[in-house]
């Protein structure tokens, strides 16, 4: 479906109107004489006022650049158009500029002011693209300008601009490495950023500029772990490999005390976590206890990393899977590494380049952890259609995996390979058989027999390879194999491959005592053909001669002297050297008697059998998955994977300091106060703008909460150990739920914002402060947990026991941050929700409170009772209407909102037998007869929570199903509205001052 190109040089221009005069341009590129003229044309086109002509010219210029032709002489003409209105022309000018600015530095400066203007643009995308181009222009003069721009962009309110700033950092660093210190400051700042958009890019910058500054990571470690799952794939790879290095410096090796770990890891693990949850003090105690190292306790942060990366094994990106695999290989306890095998095997279905890299890594892993891949043995079987390089790698893996039990299967498979048409592969197979034979004693004889059979193969390469391998095998038990040596000796007549000939000669020399009659004869033959042999063979002939001279000098003395004399005049100095050396050794002379007496010992000393090893052995000192590992050589910029520390560094460095956060959140809140509430939620919508345009943001909020909590607790259900980790963070599942609900409420609130206002403030107008503050609120619930306990505790409002009016006031106070004197009565974590709800209530009920039953329930504050999926199409939400419940003044009125998203009507909705804690009572809503598809309805029920925050649990029944649901009131909802005059209000407020 290749569409007609908008422009094709070879066809001599397109047929658009107004271009006829340029249509005759030959422009085929091959005619150099016309080059000059053609460029004139282009200049002319660039100078016109018509955008279409400019575009045409730019397209042709870009096509030239793409083919690697020089278009630099057009620079002045092109750079003029940098401020062109047409967006495509502009983009192409950028392409040109970035390509040639380095060569034409002075002229490039002309364009800088345009970008500087762009940096101030109200639109975040324009700011970002201006920064992107500005930083891509490699002109040293503008370094200060770039530095300034980066610094500014790093504190931009738009995460996209901040991401661009992160990208710009390595660019500036490569231009001028003197800026390093300043850049590190910016990196440090950006590392603290809590948006997923920025995380990957800034870690990339970190890796390029200051990978040694591992201390910058401490404070951000937990955040990075938690964000990881939501970062885009490329960022994930970079972050994971950086965290691997980090973990190697900060945690203890999980493989030490392996046995102890297996005995009872759980208990010790839990114990330590609980300690830690109590506070930083006890954590230090735990750290102090660590050096004793009995039993090994995995640092909870270490566990966090392993737990949060595990789901990424299911990523579609091979690079991410590999990154996680190497992380597990380098960091996980032995028992857990196994999970990566399945994912790696899956990658073998991918493109052959991916296979190549994965197999290299599997080969290294399979040496260390053979058991891991054993169940997948058959996935490494070779197809005749595989490329040779893949075949050889698979063979390597198969050989590594072979053991006593599976060797018969493996050998049977090897038999098939030996008959392949691909001779390189056959040679590799023979070597693999040799390796299996040396490693597994049981099959040694079988293999040897098989290899001997191969000696009669028609292909010389196969035979030669077999000889070499047989030689190695024979060294292990030479005594029994006189026959084979004889057989090999016969082969010298036929085999021409030098390596094989040399091997045979060496064998005969070494074991001449086993073949006393044949050996001299072989020497005779070789002496005859000595001059025609390859160097390697000649050396072995000398060797053989020397050995025979020592054992059987009677028969071979003359032959040896003949060979040595021939060698003396050889062209190759190695051979001449060897001949001279050997003669001195073996032929007794007047002075050198001492040595020659021991010559036999020297030459015929028992030699250890060679160990056939994988070429992938010891490759694992390189970080797996890295370029250096693949090349088995250190690549430029490779960061060594450090060894585990002997003693764990202080784990408390990763604790995010609470006071600092309190301060910051205080500040945020204050700013918030100055602004209308809307703008607050606006700034927040920055990174999720696409959702805004969608009126029904239900789904969005859903996805968000799931993805967010996904990072935090994704595996917590499955992993027992993880639970207490969550606890340690001060997040019980309840509080998390309420947090999520709080999120949702925010979303709802946003929904209500008028369209126009949103447009304005989301992209441009919203000032720095508001967005960054609210943003941090949104993306950082992991941080929040850390913040909450301390920062919120002070301001916890009194629960429903005091007069309702007073309560309202206290909530206002809360806003002012004059902490009420009342002691907190409820768990602090709940408060954030209640606060959000309260603030919301305040804004939404600005209008006079008119009590009316069944007034349309505002979307704000709606919380989920039953998810539509769990409810099989029935979705139930509830809100606290903040109106008196007509039946009973002690009851809180709750609006229950039902909607049916299934395609069948839901009948007979009613409340089933409630199981209520003491004191709580429920006034049920009247049964709803039927709810047809797509319809929704609202019912009111009253709950007397008895002024506690205990949840009211009850069943929601339909005709067919029962759902267990529970409503837990936030503290702020346990109230009744009271009317009072302004004066009365102020009076009450005065009483609440808290002094």
């Amino acid at each position: 479906m290749s569409a007609a190109p908008a422009y094709s040089e070879d066809k001599g221009g397109s047929a658009g109107p107004g271009e006829a005069e340029y249509g005759h341009d030959p422009a085929s590129g091959g005619i150099f004489s016309s080059d000059y003229k053609r460029h004139d044309d282009l200049k002319e086109m660039l100078d016109t006022n018509k955008d279409s002509l400019k575009l045409e010219a730019m397209k042709r210029i870009v096509a030239m650049i793409a083919r690697g032709k020089n278009a630099s002489d057009l620079f002045p003409a092109v750079v003029k158009n940098v401020a062109c209105k047409n967006i495509e022309v502009k983009k192409l000018v950028y392409v040109y500029l970035v390509r040639y600015a380095e060569e034409q530095q002075d002229l490039a400066l002309l364009s800088i002011s345009t970008f500087q203007r762009g940096l101030k643009d109200p639109n975040q995308l324009i700011r970002a693209s201006a920064l992107r181009v500005l930083s891509s222009i490699r002109v040293p003069i503008i370094v200060p300008i770039m530095m300034l721009a980066i610094k500014e962009a790093a504190s931009d309110m738009s995460p996209y601009v901040r991401k661009t700033a992160a990208h710009a950092i390595p660019k500036l660093y490569s231009l001028d490495s003197d800026q390093k210190d300043q850049l590190i400051e910016v990196i440090e700042k950006l590392l603290a950023d809590k948006t997923t958009l920025v995380a990957g890019s800034v870690v990339m910058a970190f890796e390029e500029v200051c990978p040694e500054r591992i201390d910058l990571i401490h404070k951000n470690y937990r955040k990075l772990c938690n964000l990881l799952i939501d970062v885009e794939e490329w960022g994930q790879v970079v972050i994971i490999s950086m965290l691997t290095r980090y973990a190697r410096t900060q945690f203890l090796s999980p493989t030490q005390n392996e046995s102890l770990l297996e005995e009872n890891p759980e208990k010790a693990f839990y114990g330590s976590e609980e300690d830690e949850a109590k506070g930083p003090g006890s954590e230090e105690a735990a750290a102090a206890a660590l050096p004793t190292r009995k039993p090994y306790v995995m640092d909870p942060d270490h566990r966090l990393l392993l737990r949060n990366t595990k789901p990424l094994l299911q990523s579609r990106s091979a690079a991410v899977v590999m990154a996680v695999a190497q992380l597990y290989f380098h960091l996980a306890p032995k028992a857990e590494v196994g999970v990566i095998a399945k994912a790696l095997v899956r990658l073998l279905r991918s493109h052959s380049e991916v296979q190549y890299v994965v197999l290299q890594n599997v080969a290294t892993m399979s040496i260390k952890r053979r058991g891991m891949f054993e169940p997948y043995l058959k996935s490494f079987y070779i197809r005749s259609t595989d490329p040779t390089q893949i075949k050889i790698l698979k063979l390597e893996v198969l050989t590594n995996l072979a053991n006593e039990t599976n060797i018969p299967t493996v050998l049977r498979e090897f038999q098939t390979y030996i008959r392949s048409m691909d001779k390189d592969f056959v040679a590799a197979t023979i070597q693999a058989i040799g390796r299996c034979a040396t490693n597994i004693g049981r099959v040694r004889d079988t293999c040897l027999n098989g290899l001997v059979q191969l000696l009669s193969n028609r292909d010389e390469l196969v035979v030669a390879e077999s000889v070499v391998v047989i030689k190695k095998l024979l060294q292990m038990q030479p005594a029994q194999h006189g026959e084979i040596i004889k057989h090999l000796a016969k082969l010298t007549d036929n085999i021409q491959v030098p390596m094989a000939r040399a091997s045979i000669l060496w064998l005969i020399g070494e074991y001449c005592e086993h073949v006393p009659r044949i050996a001299p004869d072989v020497l005779r033959k070789m002496a005859k053909s000595f001059t025609a042999e390859e160097d390697i063979v000649k050396l072995q002939v000398i060797n053989l001669a020397a050995k025979l001279y020592l054992t059987n000098s009677k028969q071979t003395k003359l032959l040896t002297q003949y060979v040595l004399s021939l060698a003396k005049y050889d062209q190759n100095y190695d051979i001449r050297d060897r001949a001279r050396f050997t003669r001195q050794l073996i032929v007794p002379s007047e002075q050198g008697g001492a040595l020659s007496r021991h010559a036999k010992k020297l030459f015929l000393a028992p030699k250890p059998a060679p160990v056939l090893e994988s070429s992938f052995k010891d490759r694992d000192h390189f970080q797996l998955g890295s370029l250096s590992h693949l090349l088995n050589a250190k690549a430029t910029g490779y960061q060594e994977l450090p060894d585990w520390p002997e003693e764990a560094p202080d784990p408390s460095v990763r604790n995010v300091e609470v006071p600092e956060w309190t301060k910051c959140s205080n500040r945020e809140k204050r700013k918030e106060k100055e602004k209308p509430f809307y703008s607050d939620s606006e700034g927040e919508s920055g990174p999720t703008e696409s959702a805004d345009s969608d009126p029904e943001s239900e789904s969005e909020s859903d996805s968000k909460s799931s993805s967010e909590s996904g990072s935090g607790e994704s595996s917590s259900e499955s992993d027992n150990e993880d639970q207490d980790e969550d606890e340690e963070k001060g997040r019980s599942s309840e509080s998390e739920q309420s947090e999520e609900e709080g999120e949702k409420k925010k979303m709802k609130k946003r929904k209500k914002v008028p369209e126009g206002q949103r447009e304005g403030s989301s992209s441009d107008e919203g000032s720095d402060s508001s967005s960054s503050s609210s943003e941090s609120e949104m993306t950082s619930d992991t941080e929040e947990e850390q913040v909450e306990p301390a920062s919120w505790r002070k301001k916890t409002p009194p629960s429903g026991k005091s007069a309702p009016a007073a309560k309202e006031i206290s909530l206002l106070d809360l806003e002012d941050f004059t902490p009420p004197s009342v002691q907190p009565l409820s768990p602090p974590t709940v408060v954030s929700t209640s606060l959000a709800a309260d603030l919301e209530g305040l804004t939404l009920t600005d209008s006079p409170l008119v009590p009316s039953l069944l007034s349309p329930v505002s979307g704000a504050g709606r919380q989920e009772l039953l998810h539509r999926v769990a409810g099989e199409g029935l979705a139930v939400d509830y809100t606290f209407s903040r109106q008196p419940f007509s039946g009973d003044p002690h009851m809180v009125s709750v609006h229950i909102h039902f909607s049916n998203s299934s395609d069948t009507p839901i009948k007979g909705l009613h409340v089933g037998t409630p199981k209520l804690p003491a004191g709580i009572s429920i006034q049920e809503f009247p049964e709803i007869e039927s709810l047809s598809p797509g319809e929704s309805t609202t019912a009111i029920m009253g709950i007397n929570f008895c002024d506690s925050t205990q949840a009211a649990n009850f069943q929601l029944c339909t005709q067919t199903r029962q759902f267990y649901v529970s409503i837990q009131p936030p503290v702020g909802e346990l109230m009744a509205p009271v009317f009072m005059s302004e004066n009365e209000f102020k009076k009450e407020q005065g009483l609440q001052g808290g002094r």
Binding site: A3, W234, A343, Q415, R419, P687, S693, S699
Partner: protein
């Protein structure tokens, strides 16, 4: 990270270059050409080549080499994955990833590359975002553009880049709202000489084509989700929901994309330390082969093709092989001819016809020509590449298709030692061989009723019969 990219065609012309940092001279590609020459075969060019100052990481796609220049340490898979993503994008934009298509659309290619990488680090790789930035060329648009002078570059700024659902563009609108899912399963198998299965597994993918307005939230559930034990997901899928409920819940990208890919294996993979040993009957046999005799004990693992697994028996689920092949290929010693006889037939086809059957054989080099008669379909033999292709078509159990005849060998050359292996292609419509079944698709978040459809296809993947 990625410094430069060169696109090279099969004849060794560098027809496109793009630099993200300082310009690297084309001469760096000489190292690549050197390696290519050494490798003899395009498939064997090592993906990573080390040169004195740079590293070259290359992929081979659609008869083109994508050679990227790297200067510092970077995970090779990162680059390889990216290059494939580039090729996929070209495919997506131009319908094919060929030299001609790239040359015709060189400006768009350049604009794409510019957006995909910033300073060598990937920036926007999601096709939905790219399409918002740069509109794919269509015939209509190029006509309109040439008349009105408008451009392919989107003038609205892409908001998708800013959202936390980067894969979906905003403001999608369709008059017909449709969601289609193709469940495609491929059987990878190695069948040995005697017809028993050495290795078999099912590689499945679910490709989706979603054209839904607004911001739909879909959840797709299966009748037998436990079948899928090794799955990789598109980033849009909520991993947690899958973990807890085995439901695929996602806000889809707009258009075509691969939702999941999965593997159903014939082997019983046991995770971690708990290894359940199933009984293995060990028997001693003597295997005689022309040149290699081994006496070995081999494990007769229960790997013979069996009926498809039910959910309960998943632990032992095995792959049903839908075809069998009878073959006899022999070459006579000291004569310049050989015999070739292959018959193919259906096995357990579950009431579905097997169609699109093709047999491909890479004959040994000494084969000069083949003189065969098919009872069904047609065959071709390429004397240069020595590839025999037999296009069989549909298999009916009543009349089994066969291909018989003589093979002419180069006279004087020794007879080939190995019999070639047969690569088989086939297709079964309306069947997922693993038994996977989609239960239902629910949509939330939007009011309209979408049109939904699921299609199942089973194909042969790397299906090889050793002879």
């Amino acid at each position: 990270m990625i410094h430069s990219l060169f696109l090279i065609n099969c004849s060794g012309d560098i027809f496109l270059e793009k630099h993200w940092k300082s310009v690297v001279s084309q001469s760096v590609c000489d190292y690549f050409f050197e390696a290519q020459e050494k490798a003899a075969d395009v498939e064997n060019v090592p993906p990573v080549i080390s040169t004195p100052h740079h590293y070259l990481i290359s992929i081979y796609r659609d008869k083109l080499f994508f050679v990227s220049v790297i200067q510092t340490e970077v995970p090779p898979l990162f680059v390889i994955e990216f290059l494939h993503r580039v090729a996929d994008t070209f495919q997506d934009y131009f319908g094919e990833c060929s030299e001609a298509a790239i040359k015709d659309n060189v400006v768009i290619v350049y604009e794409l590359l510019e957006e995909m990488l910033d300073n060598g680090f990937p920036l926007a790789t999601e096709s939905n975002i790219l399409k918002e930035l740069i509109k794919p060329p269509t015939i209509l648009r190029s006509v309109v553009n040439s008349i009105t002078g408008s451009s392919n570059v989107g003038d609205t700024l892409p908001t998708g880049q800013l959202s936390n659902i980067p894969w979906r563009r905003a403001g999608v609108k369709y008059t017909n709202n449709e969601a289609y899912f193709d469940v495609v399963e491929e059987i990878d198998a190695i069948i040995d000489k005697s017809g028993s299965t050495v290795f078999a597994e099912i590689q499945g993918v679910i490709d989706a084509c979603i054209k839904l307005s607004g911001m739909p939230d879909l959840s797709l559930s299966f009748m037998n989700p436990r079948l899928l034990d090794d799955v990789s997901f598109h980033p849009c899928i909520r991993f947690k929901r899958w973990e807890s409920e085995r439901v695929l819940s996602f806000i889809p990208p707009d258009g075509n994309f691969r939702l999941i890919s999965y593997r159903v294996s014939s082997q019983k993979y046991v995770d971690g330390s708990t290894r359940i040993c199933h009984h293995i009957s060990v028997c001693w046999v003597e295997l005689t082969f022309p040149c290699f005799m081994l006496t070995v004990g081999y494990l007769n693992s229960s790997l013979l093709p069996l009926a498809m697994a039910h959910e309960e028996t998943r632990k032992n689920c095995l792959v049903a092989i839908p075809v069998y092949v009878k073959h006899s290929i022999s070459f006579k010693e000291n004569s310049s001819c050989g015999r070739f006889d292959v018959t193919i037939g259906p096995k357990q086809n579950m009431g579905k016809t097997i169609e699109g059957v093709t047999v491909t054989v890479h004959m040994p080099k000494v084969v000069l020509n083949m003189n065969l008669t098919p009872t069904q379909g047609s065959y071709t033999f390429d004397p240069v590449t020595k590839v025999l292709t037999w296009d069989v078509g549909k298999i009916t159990p009543q009349k089994l298709p066969s291909l018989k005849g003589l093979v002419n060998l180069q006279s004087g050359a020794p007879k080939p030692e190995e019999n070639p292996s047969l690569n088989i292609q086939f297709k079964i419509q309306q069947l997922a061989i693993s038994g996977l079944k989609v239960n239902r698709l629910d949509m939330y978040g939007e009011k309209y009723k979408p049109f939904k459809g699921v299609k199942y296809v089973t194909k042969a993947g790397k299906f090889q019969v050793r002879t």
